[in-house]
């Protein structure tokens, strides 16, 4: 019955704690994104018009690289959790809603991995 239990959770039919977890993680990622995005927006703005090498030096600095990867991870996690709420509101058909959720989950993971790889490649000088 393990699969039924798991599917039930994916469908939002799990124990009340699942909803709390989603709610909490959406807020936790939001709190993390506030300083990360303020830092990112003003740092990148200062690099406007800078040559490629200057951007590489900034992204590749260890602290910046770690913060960038944290930003990318929190960004796509928070975005996926947010989209899930939006799908629950606008996609009443359960099968279609599950399809939307899967697509969002796959694409969020792929883009988060892609962003992290780009940062690592620059940081490790590949």
């Amino acid at each position: 019955m393990a699969t039924r239990f798991t599917l039930g959770r994916v469908r939002g039919l799990g124990s009340a704690k699942e909803g709390v977890h989603h709610w909490w993680m959406q807020r936790a990622s939001a709190v993390a994104l506030i300083p990360l995005y303020l830092w990112f927006a003003f740092s990148v703005t200062a690099l406007a018009g800078a040559p490629h090498a200057a951007l590489l030096a900034w992204v590749g600095a260890p602290v910046n690289a770690v913060l960038l990867i944290a930003l990318i991870a929190a960004n796509f996690y928070h975005g996926h959790l947010g989209l899930q709420v939006v799908f629950e509101d606008y996609v009443p058909h359960e099968g279609k809603r599950l399809a939307c959720l899967l697509v969002s989950q796959f694409l969020s993971t792929l883009f988060a991995l892609g962003g992290a790889l780009a940062v690592l490649k620059i940081a490790l000088g590949g």
């Binding site: 939001a30 506030i34 406007a48 960038l68 960004n75 962003g115 780009a118 940062v119 620059i122």
Partner: protein, 130 residues
């Protein structure tokens, strides 16, 4: 109940649009718009990691009028969603629910996100040298 006297949901022609309703809708719209924005952010990093030529293409795209328009929309969406997100977090903690305070904090969010957007664009043009 006959068709005439059944209860109706808010009628669009007599329904007054409240600032707080508008701002709440905008939180969702900006949140969803930030998703293609973050995809573009990853593509930009990817281009930077690929090489000088790919990065030059990305820089050219961002510098075009369409690129600047998208970047402006992204900047405003980001700051609006960030500021209004803070407002949401205060509500979640149980503060500021009263109508007058919700209105005041809504106005503060609009002012703060406008100011942050302007600040970033002024700083960006200053860094670029015009």
């Amino acid at each position: 109940m006959t068709a005439e006297n059944r209860p109706l949901s808010p009628h669009i022609f007599i329904y007054r649009l409240h600032l707080t309703t508008l701002l709440s809708g905008l939180h969702r719209i900006t949140g969803v718009m930030l998703i293609p924005g973050s995809v573009l952010l990853v593509l930009w990093l990817w281009a930077a990691a690929t090489g000088t030529e790919a990065y030059a293409t990305a820089t050219w795209a961002i510098g075009s009028w369409l690129g600047r328009l998208c970047l402006f929309g992204w900047t405003f969406s980001l700051f609006y969603h960030l500021c209004n997100g803070i407002r949401h977090l205060f509500w979640d903690a149980g503060h500021g629910f009263e109508l007058a305070r919700a209105r005041a904090s809504g106005l503060a969010v609009v002012a703060a996100s406008g100011a942050l957007t302007l600040a970033v664009w002024i700083a960006g043009y200053a860094a670029r040298g015009g």
